[in-house]
């Protein structure tokens, strides 16, 4: 009897999830070396996922990637310490990645992707337990109810292009108002006020909850960091934290590169050869209209700064264009200030960093705007015309349009780069200035031959 009882207990503890929710920092003692090493190991996992995502890998591929990365990096010689390593590394990285909006966004996306993968692997009981932790009012659908609903559930699944497999029998009901996104997209069967949510949809919802909790936590962490921790730890943790960040995030192009010191004389030619489509478009519109609205001025202006255009040259460049429309005096009065502001010479003297692709893609250009990502915002017709002007061959144009349809805008830009330059770009385009510097590398190498 006792042995049986012991065995049963062991089974029960297996069902409890080892997936932590990172609700609060654990009261553990951590060795200083482990502080850094654990964080680095976890960062390898997150960076690996990040690379996979920007290459447009499918969800199943990301799952396998995450599994391999986790196995390779998050082990610990003592089995009991594995969970601690998980928790500690997460909280250390919170300190590292809480400090700016871009860092937070990246960390949130990667941790959420990781969480999603790990959640899917959990047993049904463990998943339910996790859902309960998030206060999600889901009720499992019994087998008999499933049988009676099967046709409708199957039909919904087929209507969204995800037909049910025999394995897909786990469904949950929840009041329809709890899942507005699924209702809006007609991705669930709704009956008498209840939405019938499939397992993979539940994962999305749990992941959304996880993300929103983490997002709030990061803001709080940032506050604590700037108000007390950074100073308190300036001889111990702070240098580690600051080093961790810069070693793993790509260059942010706030320091202009020497070889790319462009002069306004060459700018037209350089725009044609090395600007990514978003900046080409803004540049052309500026030449055409002698004006750009605020969003466009920011996006193009900071890009040019990153490319190496000095402040004086920038002022001359913008003035030459704008004065054709609004007059030199008005330019000096209304526009010169904000250019100097971008270069950190006015106001609070922040040296603004050029926008990354992620930032540009998520902007929302309105009427009369020309900023944003053309792969996202141009109509098919206009995009084809623009690519044609860049001399992208028709086969490549089709590949690009395919990526656009699937909303992989950065991949579309990468393919464009590859078609225009005749070389491959394995790293994928993440930043317009990166496109520029890669392009210049190719152009220079051709010149030197």
């Amino acid at each position: 009897m006792e042995i049986y009882g012991y065995q049963r207990k062991a089974l029960h503890s297996d069902a409890i999830s080892t997936l932590p929710l990172y609700r609060s920092a654990p009261p553990l003692d951590v060795r200083l070396e482990d502080f850094e090493l654990f964080a680095i190991d976890r960062l390898r996992v997150l960076k690996g996922i990040s690379d996979g995502l920007s290459r447009g890998k499918k969800p199943e591929e990301i799952d396998n990637l995450a599994k391999d990365l986790w196995k390779a990096n998050m082990r610990h010689p003592e089995a009991s310490e594995v969970v601690n390593k998980d928790i500690i590394s997460h909280f250390v990285l919170r300190l590292v990645y809480c400090r700016t909006e871009d860092l937070r966004k990246w960390f949130l996306s990667m941790e959420t992707a990781l969480f999603r993968y790990r959640f899917r692997l959990e047993s049904a009981e463990a998943q339910r337990a996790l859902m309960a932790e998030f206060d999600l009012p889901y009720k499992a659908v019994s087998n008999s109810e499933f049988e009676s609903m099967k046709d409708n559930l199957g039909q919904v699944a087929r209507s969204i292009g995800q037909p049910l497999t025999p394995a897909d029998t786990k469904f949950y009901t929840v009041p329809f108002e709890e899942v507005p996104e699924l209702v809006a997209g007609r991705r669930v069967f709704v009956h008498k006020g209840h939405a019938y949510v499939a397992m993979n949809q539940v994962v999305s919802l749990v992941a959304t909850q996880f993300r929103s909790h983490l997002s709030k936590a990061l803001i709080l962490t940032n506050r604590k960091w700037t108000s007390s921790i950074r100073e308190q730890e300036k001889d111990r943790l702070t240098p580690i934290v600051e080093a961790l960040c810069t070693s793993y995030l790509g260059p942010d192009y706030s320091e202009p590169r020497e070889f790319a010191e462009i002069s306004i004389r060459d700018i037209d030619q350089i725009a044609m050869s090395s600007f990514p489509l978003c900046m080409r478009h803004l540049f052309e519109k500026l030449r055409e209209d002698h004006h750009l609205k605020h969003g466009g001025r920011m996006q193009l202006g900071l890009f040019l700064k990153g490319v190496g255009l000095k402040l004086d040259d920038a002022l001359a460049f913008w003035k030459a264009e704008f004065s054709q429309k609004v007059g030199a005096e008005r330019f000096d009065k209304e526009y010169a200030y904000s250019i100097r502001h971008n270069y950190g010479r006015e106001g609070k003297r922040t040296d603004y960093t050029p926008f990354s692709c992620q930032k540009i893609i998520s902007s929302t250009p309105g009427v009369g705007d020309h900023h944003g990502c053309p792969y996202r915002h141009f109509s098919e017709e206009n995009l084809r015309a623009a690519l044609g002007k860049m001399r992208v061959n028709s086969r490549a144009v089709e590949d690009v349009m395919d990526k656009v349809r699937n909303r992989h805008y950065q991949l579309a830009c990468t393919l464009t780069f590859e078609a225009v330059h005749g070389t491959s770009c394995d790293a994928g385009i993440n930043h317009p200035n990166q496109y520029f510097s890669e392009s210049q590398k190719v152009v220079q190498s051709k010149v030197s031959i």
Partner: protein, 468 residues
């Protein structure tokens, strides 16, 4: 009680009642022969409206509805509930008064009678009395913000102008009105069966559309995001000048809600009614519009060829439209393996013409104002009467009582001792009785239950917390 024995007496009595119009005008309105001499529109004017608000408009019923059981009789009633509701008035000369609020039924009634608004809108219930809103902030804890509002829908036939040929703009006739009937059936069924709502009021908008008020407690407490999600669930038509095909079904099957709407309502309506009443294939311009929705050149040129021939020899007894629709369906649904874009082409065409087109903005925001039932439409003089969704095919927008008709009925009605209300002598009686029996009474019953239940639950809770 009006005693109508002679015309002269009748005129005098009316004059006393109205009291503020010019005498000449009053006499003119009462005599049918004199009507041609008037420059005032037949159906609507401020004097008529005064009488309407005085004798016919169901003030008490509106109050009971909007109070949702908070009439002060139960200890758990929220005494402030009615006074936190916004009403707005559009007066003569387009003067617009917002944030009107009232503390009682009589205050509401007196205000309406006094101001005689050309239109009354109902807004949300706010966190505090709208009259006191300036004392509260926009953000933070002590806020002036909507807290409850019916889930509402607005369907206007002008949104269907690209698919109806019988009328355009503000006109509506019995050939195109059935589009509204179909919309009511589809949406009403879904609100009840899919979303589980029970207390739903459909109202004629007075000229060319319908409004829907979903009044369940759960519906009133929905957030903007939740309202938007229901509106999106209902949205199919994504029209835009640049897209040729505005309805696109890409999955391997239709969502059960759409499939049900198609098989129970839309398919038959298209085939048996709309096809014929709008003569959808009768001219080249019209059938080209449909051919545009088929993304296959070989099919469209085949059909075009057939129909251009057909123009010359119309021997067949069957209606052209029916024949051509059959031909189109046959080609699209016959055994040939179908390219992706063609799989549901027939359904897409039917949905394009018949599926409800909602005004999304009306439904998405809690603070959106919507015209109150039983108002009178200034351009048509028709009363915004409720529509019974169970027999909405019988509703005739061209036969809805107008203000002038009602007043006529009122004045010429015979003496009836058994009638308590003026409206019961008129064609408005039927509408008000329907409003009460089908909507108001079940709603109030449910509200009372809700109030009692929550009260009892609170009592129980405090009892429990006090137990040793």
């Amino acid at each position: 009680m009006l005693l109508l024995s002679s015309r002269a007496q009748h005129t005098t009595m009316t004059r006393e009642e109205i009291g503020n119009g010019s005498e000449d005008m009053v006499i003119d309105e009462c005599e049918p022969e004199g009507r041609e001499r008037n420059s005032v529109p037949d159906e609507f004017n401020a004097n008529y409206l005064k009488v309407y608000y005085g004798k016919l408009f169901p003030h008490a019923d509106i109050f009971k509805w909007i109070s949702y059981g908070n009439d002060g009789k139960h200890p758990a009633c929220d005494q402030s509930y009615f006074s936190r509701r916004e009403f707005s008035y559009t007066l003569d000369n387009d003067i617009y008064l917002r944030y009107q609020s009232f503390n009682s039924a009589s205050e509401l009634e007196n205000s309406i009678k006094e101001k005689c608004p050309f239109k009354i809108d109902i807004g949300p219930v706010y966190s505090v009395d709208p009259a006191k809103r300036h004392a509260y902030a926009q953000t933070g804890d002590n806020v002036f913000t909507p807290v409850e509002r019916e889930l509402v829908f607005d369907i206007d036939i002008t949104d269907y102008d690209d698919v109806r040929y019988c009328c355009s703009g503000a006109d509506v006739c019995l050939d195109c009105w059935p589009l509204m009937t179909v919309a009511i059936k589809v949406i009403d069924t879904s609100l009840r069966d899919d979303f589980g709502f029970n207390h739903i009021l459909w109202v004629f908008s007075g000229r060319r559309g319908v409004h829907c008020w979903v009044c369940d407690g759960k519906a009133r407490r929905l957030t903007n995001e939740q309202r938007a999600s229901i509106a999106e669930y209902f949205r199919v038509y994504k029209g835009n000048e640049n897209s040729l095909k505005k309805v696109s079904f890409t999955g391997l099957a239709l969502h059960p809600f759409l499939a049900r709407s198609y098989s129970e309502v839309l398919k038959d309506f298209f085939k048996s009614k709309l096809l014929l009443s709008q003569k959808l294939f009768s001219t080249e311009e019209r059938y080209e519009k449909i051919l545009e929705m088929i993304p296959d050149e070989s099919i469209t040129s085949e059909l075009r060829g057939k129909w251009q021939e057909n123009k010359r020899s119309s021997i067949s007894k069957e209606d052209t439209n029916v024949v051509r629709w059959q031909q189109l369906k046959h080609i699209l649904q016959s055994g040939r393996p179908k390219a992706q874009g063609l799989r549901r082409c027939v359904e897409e065409i039917v949905f394009s013409f018949t599926y409800p087109r909602l005004d999304m903005e009306v439904s998405k925001h809690m603070n959106h104002l919507l015209k109150a039932p039983f108002c009178v439409h200034p351009k048509t003089g028709r009363v915004c009467v409720p529509i019974d969704p169970n027999c909405c095919e019988e509703f005739d927008p061209t036969a809805v009582p107008t203000l002038s008709k009602l007043l006529e009925e009122m004045n010429m009605g015979t003496l009836r001792a058994d009638v308590d209300n003026e409206w019961d002598r008129t064609s408005l009686g039927k509408s008000i009785r329907f409003f009460r029996s089908s909507f108001l009474q079940p709603l109030l019953k449910s509200c009372k239950e809700e109030i009692e239940n929550s009260y009892n639950a609170k009592l129980q809770h405090s009892k429990n917390s006090m137990s040793w």
